[in-house]
Subunit: 404 residues, 2 copies
């Protein structure tokens, strides 16, 4: 059947959920049903919402699933969100936890252009988790400052560096200048070390300017785009992904996503927002708070995001990027939780290293190597000065939190 | 000073809010401060976030206000949301309740093109609240069905009719055909009655197609656009407003806004979302749940939305449209709460009338007239058959709820 099935968790009295579910299924589709003449029922049957399942979870909470036939909406995210959660989002305690698309509808979504495989090819690394770091304290700084930070990070052996998501077009470091400067520095480092680092520049500004700006970024040799998708719209991300003239990896930042997803009882689930929808609409990398740091999602939520990004599907896989509060001592835990197919992303855990960002990057790479070799970090620290320093500073595991 | 000041309500322990606020003000701007050399402090001072105010509300909640200098972001909604609530939205229980723009920043936003005054001119009604009704049960129906509903509503004396927000482009009633059919019917009714009814057609589809589609709507003689702005983005609304070739009234639907605004502890406030931002970015009408119906916001929230829409400001006023659960018996209450400068909007309260939508519209108009004349509804019902029937069915006040 051509339809989407939405899953909701809602509050109410035990025994009332069936009626409530039926009310939603009709109210958000054909409006009324039992009072319609037989002939009209026949005509409208293919548009009628259908209660698929009702599970009472606790005395005052139930998970319900409702199917919405595809004849009711155009197959785009705005129309589907309006159908399944437009009015309903305003109607008391109800959370939209999932939307399943029938195969025919799913085909309209692009998924990531590059995905995990494509990003690995770009950095030529296939046998370990990737390492990413973030510019730190770059607001009010000039291009020289950015360049020296970028150089230090790249020399530390990070595979990707991303703009700070709060760095927008500005006089000191305009978008195009950042791309040019970044490209130059990273070419230099490549010539010195043979290692390829990608720089994701923050694509920002008015919505209608984004595509042209992204195309220009590509012309200038940009490696990747960072995008604060949730302050624009998932459909805008999808359009950037679909544009053949852009054709750059897109790193989706979770900025503002908590406004819709953080509440346990309202809005949408993180797994739908940062997981399924980012993958469907074409993010190559999805950043989300790790379960270890100070911006903490619980582990179940985080693993649900990861599952949506990498589970077998017709789309390319999206790289999971657990972020916030990451230091080298957490690498064994990260790899245990996320496997090899993740990007380990650190801000303070790279820049706060006693030897600076280059030392921080090295400490991470040493930690990753140790885990892949089956060595403990403590053992590996004997032969690896940077890792040793990192462990002295931050310890092992999640006990000590890193300043973001 | 050129800045935005964000107001947050957040959870925490009494006595810790000062430190927390300082952490936000720095973390979302220059990163660190006290450990910077004097010279760098001088250079960065104009970018540094500033704690404006901390009010402890209860033992574990505080309202804090933080100023973000304009050098930190481009002056657009996505950049400002990312700055003031990007990372923070993911960081525990925190609600963004307001953003104040300094006058110079505010000037970049268009406000409504028509506003209350412009809409009143279009319908040629200046001395009473306007009346709006909504198509009902139109999914799966053909153009004839829509036309006869539209005709009945217009004959009832409603000033505006809006598409159901869940009606998208579809085979039976495509966008352009709806505009043509609607325009014809309303011209006919105007010739019969002399009353002008506006029809707001639902502008939907992929983001990049909206402007072209809206321009085409204007060419075809459309009266107004309905727009599910929160499934796209506020910046997209602003772009539609700014486009001189569109130049049609925009009716913002609150669809999906609850995902970000419904939680008392997370996300954004309704007054910011459905009030201030819709007005700034250019909605001529803002729909929101009334405090009387079954989709109930509390009255304080609703009046806060209204205040943002009509308070003295450099922008045109946006028409407040309290919706959901409205029947003629509520008109005295509505006018008491919202004054004359509102649009009374009903679905079931128009269509569910014993004499159909035409009777429902008349009953509302009779109720409005009674209130303006200082007559009670019960008195007015003696001379007004439709109002009499409505009161028999739904009563007076909010006691009986109307099926949506």
């Amino acid at each position: 059947m051509s339809e989407v099935i939405a899953t909701y968790v809602l509050s109410g009295k035990s025994g009332t959920f069936e009626k409530k579910a039926e009310g939603i299924a009709l109210g958000l589709t054909v409006g009324s049903w039992t009072d319609l003449p037989q002939l009209e029922q026949e005509q409208l049957r293919k548009y009628k919402g259908r209660v698929v399942e009702i599970n009472e979870l606790e005395s005052d909470t139930a998970e319900i699933r409702i199917a919405y036939p595809s004849g009711n909406y155009s197959n785009d995210i705005p129309a589907i969100l309006t159908t399944v959660f437009g009015k309903l989002s305003l109607d008391g305690r109800v959370k939209l936890t999932d939307i399943e698309f029938s195969d025919d509808l799913k085909k309209a979504y692009p998924g990531p252009r590059f995905g995990i495989g494509g990003i690995r090819e770009k950095v030529n690394v296939f046998d370990r988790p990737l390492l990413m770091s973030i510019f730190k304290g770059v607001i009010g700084r000039d291009l020289d400052y950015l360049q020296s930070q970028l150089r230090a990070q790249a020399l530390g052996g990070v595979d990707l560096v991303k703009d700070d998501e709060i760095l927008f077009d500005n006089e000191l470091t305009p978008f195009e200048e950042r791309i040019k400067a970044g490209t130059n520095i990273l070419r230099e480092v490549f010539e010195e070390t043979g290692a390829r680092t990608l720089y994701a520049v923050n694509l920002s500004g008015r919505t209608a300017t984004l595509r042209e700006k992204a195309r220009r970024a590509r012309e200038l040799g940009a490696d990747a785009l960072l995008f604060n998708v949730f302050t624009y719209g998932l459909d805008v991300l999808q359009e950037l992904r679909e544009d053949e003239e852009i054709s750059l990896p897109i790193m989706a930042h979770p900025s503002f996503s908590g406004a819709s997803a953080a509440s346990p009882q309202y809005g949408v689930s993180y797994s739908l927002w940062l997981g399924k929808f980012l993958r469907m609409t074409g993010a190559d990398l999805s950043l989300f708070p790790s379960p270890y740091g100070s911006v903490a999602l619980d582990k179940k939520q985080v693993l649900a995001i990861r599952d949506e990004l990498v589970k077998p599907d017709e789309f390319n896989e999206t790289f999971p990027v657990p972020s916030a509060g990451i230091h080298p001592g957490l690498v064994p835990q990260l790899i245990a939780d996320f496997g090899h197919e993740c990007v380990i992303n650190a801000g303070g855990g790279v820049h706060g290293h006693p030897d600076g960002a280059a030392g921080g990057g090295k400490a991470f790479r040493q930690a990753i190597e140790a885990v892949l070799d089956g060595t403990t970090l403590v053992e590996a620290a004997f032969a690896n000065k940077e890792l040793d320093e990192a462990l002295k500073l931050w310890g092992e595991g999640a006990a000590v939190s890193v300043k973001k």
